[in-house]
């Protein structure tokens, strides 16, 4: 199975991450870590007219967490910020092509989604706390 996990595309995103780095004048920056294994992800968002105009991530950790973050940035770039609300576990696992991760490693794959969702909620909380509450309630947790 590990031969399946560490396919070319995962290693490519791990070693050549897309959209990695800081973002000048980000509208929102969010950080979280996985206490069990110490993976860390920061996500910076630039939002214009409700769309994710730019997204960058910083982080360190295992190939799965970092490749998943890299692939997530590509997935949501130029999309409406509200689409983040509906993203769920299976969307991420499908995106990275790893549907059969065990319970320990699934947290690595989902860390970047968690941080992105926190970022989205923080963004709306700044703009309009009332509707942010609703978005938070509606937002699918994995």
């Amino acid at each position: 199975m590990s031969d399946d996990i560490y396919r070319e595309i995962i290693l490519d995103h791990y070693r050549n991450p897309r959209n990695k780095g800081k973002l000048e004048h980000a509208d929102v920056s969010t950080h979280d870590s996985n206490p069990l294994c110490g993976d860390e992800i920061d996500i910076h968002l630039k939002v214009e007219q409700g769309k994710i105009k730019d997204i960058k991530f910083e982080g360190r950790g295992c190939a799965i967490s970092q490749a998943s973050a890299s692939m997530l940035t590509e997935m949501v770039m130029d999309k409406p910020l509200t689409t983040v609300k509906d993203l769920a576990k299976d969307d991420i696992l499908e995106n990275i092509g790893l549907m059969n991760l065990g319970p320990a490693r699934i947290k690595c794959a989902l860390l970047s989604l968690k941080v992105l969702k926190m970022g989205m909620i923080n963004y709306y909380t700044d703009k309009d706390p009332e509707s942010a509450k609703k978005i938070q309630d509606d937002s699918k947790l994995y």
Partner: protein
């Protein structure tokens, strides 16, 4: 077959039913995560079973026969523990849930009355979180500070810095790991304690990694407090040991209030029980303490000198083999006489969690992560390491299987 020196490992393996299980279908378990917890020999499992099947009852109070049998079995473990670490008195042995709780007990019952504003609690950069966080909590409450002795690049304690720091009259306690759970470093504990005592400073020794793996003698090292956990030395989970010198224990305030720790309870005051019961409030983990007694019997039969020698042998073998693998960075002292059976490493840009997943495919259990030692990870400038750790049932053949898996990981990651 490779010659095993100090122990009859193949005979020992027969006593551990779990070593026969398969992982991922058909891979024989190679268990190299012994610093986290060890496997249990059948006599430990049977001792617990026997208690529940034949004399399950609460201890210390009831007069009926089963209660007496249970009390006797429970208290005989206390005697065995005292003898195992050469404590002067069995009353100096307190059972806790684990080593962590034992440190918290000291920080609460001894630390609160003795540590004041601007005092210093000295620990090291290679402590487990269990020997950091309780002191941070105490320091915050009291306005004291937690001060760290550094570790050099080979994983040795900076003794010069240590000697300097304890010259300060503000140091109230030195709390130090005897053996690092990441680097394997065995610190010169007798020297550390003697230097602290010269200044009248008491010393707590975290023996979670040392007591299971080498002979430890509390009178010889002259520590004031020693903590360790049963489950890291063939015993069950849920049992920890706190050793405290009697003259210090006599003056300590109780930790958990409740039944069993009292002599008399009145509306407006309570007379606490004698040692060591004063520190064991509530029904203790009777079954597992009894199981722990069998674990000590087993280790005594094997002999702690032999355990240590076996680990020196297998660790030397592993270090030599790992060093030859391309892309390896090893942590900790290179001299196997200065370290326990713990080998931490990184390999090229393979993250430890990815490596652990690949190892698991081969049936190999290793540990990956920060090992509850984030301050040390910062010092080593890594986010995580992989760690193999050995015990009496590990063989050099298992090290070979592990090395093959390392090379497989290299291939997957194209290194």
């Amino acid at each position: 077959m490779i010659q095993e020196s100090a122990l009859d490992v193949f005979k020992i393996r027969e006593d551990f039913p779990i070593l026969k299980r398969k992982i991922n279908g058909n891979k024989t378990l190679v268990y190299l995560d012994n610093a986290a917890t060890t496997q249990k020999p059948i006599i430990v499992i049977n001792a617990i079973l026997d208690y529940y099947m034949n004399y399950n009852s609460n201890i210390h109070r009831a007069v009926h026969q089963m209660a007496e049998e249970a009390t006797l079995a429970f208290e005989s473990t206390r005697q065995k523990v005292a003898k195992f670490i050469n404590a002067r008195l069995a009353d100096e042995i307190i059972f806790t849930r684990n080593a962590t709780e034992a440190i918290n007990l000291v920080s609460y019952s001894w630390g609160r009355p003795n540590v004041n504003k601007n005092d210093m609690i000295v620990i090291t950069e290679m402590e487990h979180h269990s020997n950091i966080v309780p002191w941070q909590i105490l320091a915050e409450e009291k306005g004291a500070t937690v001060d760290y002795i550094g570790v050099d690049n080979e994983g040795y304690l900076d003794m010069t810095a240590y000697e300097e720091i304890i010259q300060s009259n503000k140091v109230k306690l030195v709390s130090i790991s005897h053996m690092s759970n990441v680097l394997g470093t065995i610190v010169p504990i007798e020297k550390v304690i003697a230097k602290a005592h010269n200044k009248g400073i008491p010393v707590l020794v975290d023996g979670a990694q040392s007591v299971p793996h080498m002979p430890v003698d509390v009178q010889r090292m002259n520590c004031d407090f020693l903590v360790f956990s049963a489950h890291k030395m063939l015993g069950p989970t849920g049992v920890g040991v706190l050793y405290v010198k009697k003259e210090i224990l006599d003056k300590m305030k109780p930790f958990i209030g409740g039944g069993d720790m009292i002599k008399e309870v009145h509306k407006h005051g309570t007379i606490y029980n004698d040692l060591p019961y004063r520190f064991e409030g509530g029904t203790p983990n009777i079954a597992d303490v009894i199981g722990f007694g069998s674990a000590i019997d087993y280790l005594n039969k094997v002999g702690m000198e032999n355990v240590r020698q076996h680990e020196i042998d297998i660790t030397s073998y592993a270090i030599k083999a790992v060093t030859d693998v391309k892309g390896i960075t090893l942590y900790g002292p290179s001299n196997p006489n200065h370290r326990g059976g713990v080998v931490s490493f990184n390999i090229s840009d393979i993250h430890p969690h990815d490596l652990a997943t690949i190892m698991n495919e081969q049936g190999i259990a290793i540990r990956s992560g920060h090992h509850c030692a984030q301050i040390l990870m910062e010092r080593l400038d890594v986010s995580a390491t992989s760690r193999t750790s050995f015990y009496i049932y590990n063989t050099k053949e298992e090290v070979d299987i592990f090395i093959n898996a390392l090379n497989h990981a290299r291939k997957l990651f194209k290194i």
